[in-house]
């Protein structure tokens, strides 16, 4: 077994290594062949190979010293307008030396950039097209402003199909000398939903136990590794246990730093998946909306979300009574 992060170790190095996103890879290869790359948007869910594709493209284009020609910026960490004005601009305007006349700027998690920063970026992209091409990676292309979208070639990444997913994990298991038992892969696919990074992390954490990996181990790892288990919290509330639900909420916010806005978005999604009478779903959605608004108004996340939990407890209680009548 090797002792680094497997998700990194087994990241494909070249476009040829990439197992999935066949059509995308073919188009990218044609860029390499032409030695020209347009501005691109790589959109798709986490763990589908967006960053990997960008890095592979760069390596195929520039060779082993590709790092000298690219810059990776992470918009979640550095998303303000100042970064665009300074870091991005400084990088973009200096000409590359070598066969290929432009450099590549990879903007990861670009949908987390502020609108102001995106506006500033739009100018930079236009002015320095000669010297720099941009690849924007994002979960939702909808969060990228229109003017930028119209300047970029769009690439839509999708989850790995099940057989590709399995093949990849089996390859890693073989190289690391792991034993995968029967339904382990089913379990990984179920809990990670085709997010390959998460799948590999889950596999490595499971392997760290030093036992053959079965579905039970996978589930227990997934349970411990996913603090934002909103579904479980809602279940707890609907069972009438407010205090326990509030404790779970508190853990998420305080211990793991999950944003209130993320939690409420997930609650909203989960509401419509609950097995409750249809009219109740819309009633609950309205309550969620009211609390969301209070959050936007700048109130305390835990207080507001626990008030929401109390409403869920109340709703479940009313539904139970209605059934009895």
């Amino acid at each position: 077994m090797s002792f680094e992060m497997w998700a990194e170790k087994y990241r494909p190095k070249t476009l040829d290594d990439m197992v999935n996103q066949k059509e995308i890879v073919e188009r990218l290869k044609s860029f390499v062949k032409a030695k020209n790359v347009p501005h691109c948007i790589f959109a798709g869910p986490p763990g589908t190979g967006k960053t990997t594709a960008a890095l592979c493209l760069a390596r195929d284009l520039y060779g082993e010293n590709y790092r000298d020609y690219i810059m990776e910026l992470n918009a979640s960490d550095e998303r303000g307008i100042d970064v665009v004005r300074e870091t991005v601009k400084t990088f973009a305007r200096v000409k590359a030396i070598g066969e290929i006349p432009f450099k590549i700027m990879i903007l990861d998690e670009a949908d987390n950039m502020t609108a102001d920063a995106q506006q500033a970026l739009r100018r930079t992209m236009e002015r320095y097209t000669e010297t720099c091409r941009f690849i924007l990676c994002a979960n939702y292309s909808g969060k990228i402003i229109e003017p930028i979208q119209s300047r970029c070639a769009p690439f839509r990444f999708t989850h790995l199909p099940r057989d590709e997913h399995d093949k990849y994990l089996q390859y890693i298991a073989k190289r690391e000398g792991l034993t995968l038992l029967g339904d382990a892969l089913d379990a990984i696919f179920e809990v990670c939903g085709g997010d390959l990074r998460r799948a590999i992390n889950t596999l490595q954490a499971a392997a760290s136990l030093g036992k053959p990996i079965d579905s039970k181990i996978v589930y227990s790892i997934a349970g411990r590794a996913n603090p934002a288990d909103v579904q479980k919290m809602i279940e707890t509330a609907m069972k009438g246990n407010f205090i326990e639900a509030r404790k779970q909420l508190r853990e998420m916010i305080q211990k793991y730093g999950v944003a209130g806005s993320d939690i409420i978005r997930q609650i909203h999604t989960e509401i419509f998946r609950l097995e409750i009478p249809e009219p109740w779903k819309i009633k609950l959605a309205e309550i969620v909306g009211e609390i969301d608004y209070r959050l936007v108004e700048g109130a305390d996340e835990e207080i507001q979300l626990s008030a929401l939990l109390a409403r869920l407890v109340e709703a479940a209680y009313e539904m139970k009574n209605a059934k009895r009548v």
């Binding site: 680094e4 960053t51 960490d77 992390n201 760290s208 411990r224 305080q254 209070r294």
Partner: protein, 420 residues
């Protein structure tokens, strides 16, 4: 005979007064200036928080300068008529017995609207023409009621003395009373008093009466208990209040600030509102109170505080319809507050680890700290060899390794493997 130490060990001279040296100097110079006739400001207005020695200073001053002190405080009625009777006294500097005199109006905050009608106005009239020094004392000189009066006064602010100053005062008392006190015990009392010397002395007496020794344990335990008892009473009055007024009044009795009281209520509501409808209503009241807190933060308009208090007290009290008090349910200290200080450090460490991961794994530090760290924790807990490899690869600090391993021995084991 029982005598309060606040009286028994009261400073007799200005030299013995704890703290506020500059303010006292200002006061002394002002009194001395009376020797050349009435100065431009004929009254000194001393203001500051309770128990910092405002009144004591004036008494010590009169003593040092051998002056006759004539005092009026909130226990006297101070209607216009009442105050006017002082006008005669104030018209002469010297008294019948040849002593110079100083007039003190203490506890001016206590002047209430109706009972002491015209009191402030009458005091202002006296101050304008006074022939002897007049000292006014209040907690807040900037109360709008005093805005006109202030024009005629020399304002002198008394501040809370430092913990050290309170501490040495307590030590002096212990010496006189023949009590052997642990330094930590006295400093606990001093700190708890938050600059209120009077309350510190009262606490000291209550805790050491009849003892020759005072240890930290005596003090810490008792101090904790009376604070807790206060908050329990307040919580009971709020959560089981029958009237809005009663619940609101309880809030003013609490010896914690409004934000802390909010946390106490928020923590304990679910245990005391067992009916789901009541609970939802009570939590909604807290949620709305919190919305007002947000509005205050943004607008900086603190007058909205009244709605916060209304909702968190009366709003919660009125939520009760179906819930019956089920025996005696204890109140708990707000767990959120306990967690908050711990998790702040934890979060910043998480982010630092996130930055280490970012350098290697092409993922933002924020996402890494949320998505990768949980897996690392599992690995660090179960597989020291793999953990050591990753720690080396990511260049983690010993502190980070300890955090991820969640166990000292395991962390040592991992560190040893890296070294070897």
């Amino acid at each position: 005979m029982y005598q309060p130490w606040t009286v028994k060990h009261k400073p007799k001279s200005l030299k013995e007064v704890v703290g506020n040296k500059e303010a006292i100097q200002k006061l002394v110079e002002w009194v001395k200036s009376w020797n050349w006739g009435p100065p431009p400001k004929r009254a000194a207005f001393i203001y500051g928080p309770p128990g910092v020695g405002k009144t004591v200073t004036v008494e010590a001053l009169a003593n040092d300068f051998n002056m006759e002190l004539i005092e009026k405080n909130a226990s006297d009625y101070r209607t216009e008529e009442n105050v006017k009777r002082f006008a005669g006294l104030a018209s002469q500097y010297g008294s019948l017995f040849g002593k110079k005199r100083i007039i003190l109006f203490d506890e001016l905050d206590g002047l209430t609207g109706t009972a002491d009608k015209g009191g402030v106005k009458a005091i202002t009239e006296i101050v304008k023409v006074a022939q002897c020094p007049i000292v006014l004392i209040a907690n807040n000189a900037y109360d709008p009621r005093f805005s006109f009066l202030r024009n005629y006064c020399l304002l002198i602010e008394f501040k809370k003395p430092a913990v050290n100053e309170v501490l040495s005062h307590l030590k002096a008392i212990c010496l006189k009373e023949g009590i052997q006190a642990e330094e930590s015990a006295l400093s606990f009392i001093a700190r708890r008093s938050e600059g209120d010397i009077r309350s510190a002395v009262i606490d000291l007496q209550a805790l050491s009466q009849g003892k020759k020794k005072l240890t930290y344990d005596d003090v810490a335990w008792l101090g904790y208990r009376d604070r807790q008892e206060n908050i329990f009473t307040v919580l009971k009055m709020i959560m089981y209040g029958k009237t809005c007024d009663g619940a609101k009044r309880a809030a003013s009795m609490a010896d914690v600030d409004a934000d802390m009281l909010f946390e106490w209520i928020y923590e304990n509501v679910p245990n005391h509102f067992t009916d789901p409808h009541d609970l939802a209503r009570a939590m909604d009241a807290l949620s709305l109170a919190d919305v007002y807190r947000g509005r205050i933060r943004r607008s900086q308009d603190w007058s909205f505080t009244r709605y916060v208090v209304d909702l968190m007290t009366a709003g919660v009290a009125m939520a009760r319809a179906g819930s019956k008090p089920s025996g005696w349910t204890p109140f708990h200290f707000p767990a959120r507050v306990q967690m908050l200080s711990r998790s702040k450090e934890e979060r910043s460490l998480q982010l630092e680890i996130g930055h280490k991961i970012k350098r290697k794994c092409h993922i933002s530090a924020i996402r890494a700290s949320k998505e990768i760290i949980p897996y690392l924790k599992i690995i660090f807990k179960n597989n020291p060899k793999m953990a050591a490899g990753i720690a080396k690869w990511l260049d983690l600090t010993p502190e980070m390794i300890e955090y991820l391993a969640e166990n000292k021995e395991r962390a040592e084991e991992i560190k040893a493997l890296i070294g070897g």
